[in-house]
Symmetry: C2
């Protein structure tokens, strides 16, 4: 047994939005942090790409040599907030391999390499914490891995990407179209210069992989997550959603799928979806995040708050830092990876959901019944049909009961061949209805 | 260093709503629990008051001798779900004093004796977990003690009593008065035969003490919590609240109060309060619970779910059981009591809040200005006044800006002496407005 640490040496990798806030909190709240940990946190160094200009921290702390910083014998705990994958992966592995605790906010990395990182942590009995990787300041990882450790989670559904939620909320509110709203989000700092990772759902998919892994005790990587982004959502979709008592949200959904023979699989998927206005996720607007968890005994829980931003994300990082540092002082270790269930991934084609189909049709008698017949033909049961507009603006808006992706795709293909269906303009799922 | 446990022996004290669900989960989910813990959970015995009839568990597990059960050398972990104070206190102390881990859902006990229990746990390096004591299945204790361990919590405000929330929601919805609604709640199983602990705010005050203790790293007991119940709320209050764009909720509020000279104190208080309809707590209805946490870096977080009931509460208990059992297997210990800040309690008289005052007045000219003058006289600034009804039904509904309890009490006393004020029928606080 090693001696308990008298001080905890910390290395911070990265001094961007989150890194600067982490450093600020460590310096400003030193007395409180020491009382909570039982030993002082001492900042050993901050790895940056370039040392230039005033970064608001003593220049002596800055280094461009992250490898050497991580390797310092007086560093006990490494905070990784660089982003990217290969560089942080190597640094984190180096830290874990020498028994140092690691706190990271890097969802893209975790969604690919949690297994590898967790094995390194296991070998050296080191801590690997990542509360900040999903939903910023909102405690989600800890509730799932600890508070619900004695329960059986059946579903996790969340709004975990602030950029897309800002865009969809704004489109819903203003009636503006996607590209104008994206441009506005960029001007306001809610969307990056290259918004692909957000608007195409890659960020939400990485978070879905992390959530599915911990909720179902199964390794799920980003590649296992079915993914659709929001770039094809039109103002017409928002309008149609409103007429159906819904709004549109980009959801990250992780679900336990139980076959008739009892076999369990995991479905992890990200797509824009209609959500009924009375569902708790419907009123999560702007850059806010929320995660709804459904567990066998706990029932439905919801966690809500700021999902991004320097200070909120740093709050989550610092919670992990205090826990990892306490373990260094008191002995013991935080929760390990739990992947014993090793469930298979259910392909998206087999997941039944409700659908909304919006199509432009010829304005003549019999169209509705012919379209309805086509749905019936493919075994897709219709819940409601709404006929709107007239002449060349005539539209049919169909909401189905639960159907598989496969059955729906075949229906849509068949509808496209009907001469009185000018175009199937949108197909979106509908989630969160009781039906 | 002791050997890691090959099995974890569990004693359950109490076989009521929560206890039976705990026992059910331990028996039904044995394989999953073993995988998550790293060793099987073995139920050593269940302490009950009387062994009679079919309790749905093997009779051999039942015992009326709780002391001997706790003392058994093959019991590593004690789950206390008896309720009451003196009996569980002695049993929990006996368990902790012999180094056993304890999981309890007993808010009344914790609100009085956390200090004593935590010291016993500390001495023997034992775990004391109590996630289920506040807000049932909703993770609140763990987020506050762990996720926010690196942040600075400024306020916790919650709806943490299902009975009173059911009654207030029903009064708001139906317009019925308090006593009829309480009777209905009793018939539906939402209120106990003696509802005092719930409707007079004792239960909510115990939870406020626990929340304040962990949020502010200070020992706060039930006696430190200012408390008003809901039994004086009338249908007229709900109606007036509605006309002001509010509803009425029983809130448990814990707040960091900072004086001008920087001195910090803690305010913990429970009272029915007007809450604006656009506040997230306003839409928490029926038997649901929710807790809003405001922290310096995290911003505003909200946790929502089922705050009571056998299975939801057992979910929280079992999360603690798995964590405590893991610590027995892996070494290490969960979070300890943190009371280093030792802040003083701020008396309710010094806490400024907004107020709603409803009074019956004579229907004649000049009343409004005379009443307004009386508020001004005592330094209480008025936000809005609404005059309703006429003749003997004439009323004034005043909403103030922030004022101290002391200033408001003096104002109300003075109003009572005015000959054209027939009666001051209600005085309630208003919380959660941005003003």
């Amino acid at each position: 047994m090693t001696e308990p640490n008298a001080v905890i040496g910390v290395a911070v990798l990265g001094l961007g939005n989150v890194g600067s806030e982490v450093v600020r909190i460590i310096r400003e709240n030193a007395a409180d942090l020491e009382s909570r940990i039982g030993a002082p946190l001492v900042l050993r160094g901050i790895a940056v790409r370039r040392i230039d200009g005033d970064r608001g921290v003593p220049e002596g702390l800055l280094t461009t040599d992250a490898d050497s910083l991580v390797a310092r014998p007086d560093v006990d705990l490494v905070v990784e907030v660089i982003g990217g994958i290969e560089v942080p992966r190597k640094l984190i592995l180096a830290a874990l391999n020498s028994g140092k605790s690691v706190v990271t906010a890097n969802k893209a990395l975790l969604a690919e390499y949690t297994g590898e990182l967790a094995e390194a942590a296991e070998k050296e009995n080191a801590d690997l914490y990542f509360e900040a990787a999903v939903a910023g300041a909102i405690p989600v990882i800890r509730p799932l891995t600890q508070s619900l450790a004695g329960d059986r989670v059946n579903k996790v559904a969340g709004i975990v990407n602030g950029t897309t939620n800002f865009i969809l909320s704004a489109m819903d509110e203003t009636g503006a179209d996607y590209s104008d709203t994206l441009a506005e989000a960029g001007r306001l700092g809610y969307a990056e210069a290259d918004p692909t990772a957000d608007v195409e759902g890659f960020d939400a998919a990485a978070k879905a992989a992390i959530l599915a892994s911990i909720a179902f005790h199964t390794r799920v990587t980003a590649g296992d997550v079915y993914r659709e982004g929001i770039s094809k959502i039109t103002s017409g979709d928002l309008e149609a959603a409103k007429s159906l008592g819904c709004t549109v949200k980009l959801l990250s959904i992780c679900e336990r799928v139980v076959a008739e023979d009892g076999t369990e699989r995991v479905s992890a998927r990200v797509y824009p979806s209609l959500v009924p206005l009375d569902h708790p996720l419907a009123s999560v607007n702007g850059a806010f995040n929320a995660v709804v968890v459904e567990a066998e005994n706990a029932g439905r829980l919801m966690f809500y708050g700021q999902g991004a931003g320097g200070a909120p994300t740093a709050s989550a990082v610092m919670g992990d830092v205090v826990m990892a540092a306490r373990n260094k002082v008191n002995g013991g270790r935080g929760p390990r990876e739990s992947s014993y269930a090793a469930l298979a991934i259910a392909p998206i084609g087999e997941i039944p959901t409700r659908y909304y189909v919006n199509m432009q049709v010829a304005d003549r008698a019999g169209v509705l019944s012919a379209v309805a017949a086509e749905f019936a033909e493919h075994g897709v049961s219709i819940s409601t049909v709404r006929q709107e507009g007239e002449g060349s603006g005539a539209r049919l808006i169909v909401v189905t009961h639960r159907a598989t992706d496969a059955a729906l795709s075949e229906t849509v293909a068949a509808l496209g061949k009907l001469d009185f269906v000018t175009a199937v303009t949108s197909v979106l799922r509908l989630e969160g209805s009781s039906e």
